[in-house]
């Protein structure tokens, strides 16, 4: 692991584009090459917002702070530029694209990464696609189905992991990848992520989850607790276990105290 983080977030604040109130209220986070981090938090804590902001979702507006990726400020980059720079977001709610097969979709995405005039080798592509689908226990016919159209929850999430495998990002943001999965699907998906991380130990992974159970299958190097738009606790894998036992209540109390303190300070000043 190198000394400079591949992703560095400083005092990041962000809001929904049409609204006034910040959802992210000053997030600080450093991810080093190859690390697996998990951000946990209750609904509405801002963890999914963080993932979308990092991927450049146009529905959110950054109101302050910085995000550097591989040392470059990415706050002005479009989502496609971020993707090409190596950021991948596995969606919590993958979007349906009727009439576009998974194979066609992935081909277009990979072709978009090539220089003008360069053509994707379709035979290599096909071989890799089939191998990756096998790894994720997907039937080969899956490649010809329209993207997420009529998919079950589990199929959608597998499809996200398939894209992760095919696009080989340096940073994978997994937004509630475990939601809506039964235990079998959860195992397949987490095996897939582990396998990809073994193949490419330089790949950095940020897992965003509400529940601890995904972390039974994927061992994080660090766990952060997010509450009300801030990271309120960071530590090792044991933090997840703390949460499992105490829930988010302890943190809520701690945070309320911190806020009261900050407000009191502000008033004094």
């Amino acid at each position: 692991m190198s000394d400079t983080p591949i992703l560095s977030i400083r005092d990041l604040t962000a809001k929904v584009a049409d609204e006034d109130v910040d959802i992210l209220k000053g997030v600080d986070l450093d991810l080093f090459k190859g690390e697996i981090h998990a951000i946990m938090g209750p609904n509405g804590s801002g963890k999914s917002t963080l993932a979308k902001v990092l991927a450049g979702h146009p529905g959110y507006e950054v109101t302050g702070g910085t995000v550097t990726f591989h040392g470059d400020d990415i706050s002005e980059l479009e989502p496609d530029e971020r993707s090409q720079a190596g950021i991948f977001l596995a969606f919590q709610y993958p979007v349906e694209i009727p009439g576009v097969s998974i194979a066609n979709f992935l081909r277009t995405a990979l072709q978009a990464r090539l220089e003008e005039g360069e053509e994707l080798d379709l035979f290599d592509f096909q071989d890799e696609l089939m191998a990756r689908m096998e790894m994720l226990e997907m039937d080969p016919s899956f490649a010809e189905r329209p993207v997420n159209d009529g998919f079950s929850g589990g199929e959608k999430k597998r499809n996200e992991i398939l894209q992760l495998a095919m696009l080989r990002p340096s940073l994978a943001l997994m937004d509630e990848t475990d939601s809506g999965l039964d235990i079998d699907a959860l195992q397949v998906v987490s095996r897939g992520i582990n396998r990809l991380h073994e193949e490419n130990p330089d790949m950095t992974v940020l897992i965003i989850t509400h529940y601890q159970r995904l972390l039974n299958f994927i061992k994080p190097d660090k766990v952060h607790v997010m509450l009300n738009g801030r990271i309120v606790r960071s530590g090792g894998a044991d933090v997840a276990l703390e949460l499992e036992e105490g829930g988010y209540e302890d943190y809520r109390t701690a945070e309320a105290e911190a806020i009261a303190e900050a407000e009191a300070e502000a008033q004094e000043a």
Partner: protein, 471 residues
């Protein structure tokens, strides 16, 4: 979503694919439409008396009929019609040269991936077409089977009885104002006859035939598919149609005899100053099948509703259409199915895309006459809006006189969603690539029915059209 200026920079939206050539026609009628013009056309074509009489009668009908007030905006059309030449006989020899074709047009061809030999033909400068050999061997096959595939003028000259038996029987001059106009001044188009029981594997492509004649502004096509025959006719192509004129009004008549199976595919991409008002209709006899596959791109206003009149028991009609309305364009399209016999079935699938200030209208009719028991019809129309300024309307007319029938209608309107775009862009596609992929997916159910080369061209064209669709 703001509309980018780049499309104007590329010159693709404004007078798209449009260029002007200094042609010197052998014969040109005066401006506007009158009896003198009609007589001149008929004389130039050396037609029999009955055809002249038919043209003159049609002119009377045209003059008597008011301009339609439904559909698209035709309020400026009178001015256009006063200015146009209703007949220009093609030059004996092409005088344009490839060097005269503007680089921008050549680039469009390049980007559509059209081979150079075909580009020349499309640009109207090709006297020699490399697939001429292909054409000749096909022509021999057709001749051997007794298939007639001629220009409409040669059809009248060489097969006068067959011609007269069917001409104007599917779409009489009095059908509507523009069918009357066409019947008065028609010029160019195809005459096709498929004999009983003959099946053709290779589509009849108007493209082969018209490469040296150029499509007329008032094209007239008459097709007779005799009993038990099977054929596919392809008209136009996705490559842009060049016309210095701003009005096109075709009439396509098709007779599908008992047990025959006929498909008519047309994809047209008109320059954006064009009024394109076309009447296409087929009479479908007992146990016969008629399929219209219709793609409309470009033009200022297109009004076109391919129709199937299901005359015989067990007849089947199918209409599938794609319409693309870019900035300032109005595609008023759809289809009509008329069930006039028992056990007839039909389906209409219509997909439209509106971009920028484009407007697409689905206008369809499903009519079931009393006695057409067990008639089944299913209509599905889907509209896709690209920008907030894009518009779509749906006018499904359903007239049912027979209770023992089953009619279904489904309409959807969707807007290219921000979430869809974000999803695709987060995989590395540019906004334009993402948009093009969504649109391609939308038309896929119809595009997959096209011959491969057409589908490929259509996809490339959609990509070109999507450039500048985003800001």
């Amino acid at each position: 979503m703001p509309v980018n200026d780049t499309i104007q920079d590329l010159g693709l939206d404004e007078y798209k694919y449009h260029f002007i050539t200094e042609d010197e026609p052998v014969f040109r009628s005066g401006r506007g439409l009158n009896e003198k013009v009609v007589r001149e056309i008929s004389a130039q074509k050396d037609e029999p008396e009955w055809m002249l009489a038919s043209r003159l009668k049609a002119l009377e009908i045209y003059n008597a009929k008011p301009m339609p007030t439904w559909g698209g905006d035709l309020s400026k059309l009178e001015e256009v019609l006063d200015q146009i030449y209703f007949y220009v006989r093609p030059q004996e020899k092409m005088e344009r040269s490839w060097d005269d074709v503007p680089p921008s047009i050549k680039e469009t061809f390049e980007r559509l991936g059209i081979p150079e030999a075909e580009q020349k033909v499309l640009a109207g400068v090709g006297a020699q077409y490399e697939s001429e050999m292909v054409y000749h061997s096909l022509k021999k096959e057709w001749d051997d089977k007794g298939v007639i595939f001629d220009s409409i003028e040669d059809g009248l000259k060489n097969h006068p009885e067959l011609f007269r038996e069917y001409f104007g029987t599917v779409i009489p001059a009095a059908d509507n104002k523009f069918s009357a106009m066409n019947a008065a001044v028609w010029s160019g188009g195809s005459f096709v006859y498929i004999p009983k029981g003959v099946e053709l594997d290779t589509p009849l492509q108007a493209y082969f035939r018209v490469n040296q004649e150029q499509m007329g502004q008032f094209e007239r096509t008459l097709i007779i598919a005799d009993e038990g025959s099977r054929a596919h006719y392809i008209e136009g192509c996705t490559a842009p149609m060049y016309s210095t004129e701003s009005f096109h009004s075709g009439v396509i008549e098709i007779v599908v005899k008992p047990g025959a199976h006929f498909r008519y595919t047309t994809i047209q991409n008109w320059s954006t100053n064009m009024y394109n008002l076309v009447t296409q209709r087929s009479l479908v006899h007992e146990n016969a099948t008629m399929e219209w596959l219709d793609g409309n791109l470009g033009s200022k206003l297109t009004m076109k509703y391919p129709s199937c009149v299901l005359l015989g028991e067990g007849a089947h009609g199918s209409i599938m259409s794609i319409a693309y309305a870019g900035d300032g364009q109005h595609q008023d399209t759809g289809g009509k199915v008329i069930h006039a016999a028992p056990n007839t079935t039909s389906s209409i699938i219509s997909k439209s895309i509106s971009k920028g200030t484009g407007r697409s209208t689905y206008r369809g009719l499903c009519k079931v006459y009393e006695g057409a028991v067990n008639a089944k019809s299913n209509v599905e129309c889907d509209a896709l809006l690209i920008n907030d300024t894009s518009r779509t309307d749906t006018y499904p007319y359903i007239e049912i006189e027979e209770n023992r029938s089953n009619i279904g209608h489904e309409a959807t309107v969707s807007k290219v969603g921000d979430e869809q775009l974000f999803y695709l862009m987060s995989r590395g596609m540019s906004e334009e690539e993402a948009m093009a992929l969504i649109v391609r997916g939308f038309i896929e159910p119809i595009a997959k029915l096209l011959p491969l080369e057409y589908a490929v061209e259509l996809n490339r064209l959609i990509e070109l059209e999507m450039e500048g669709s985003v800001g």
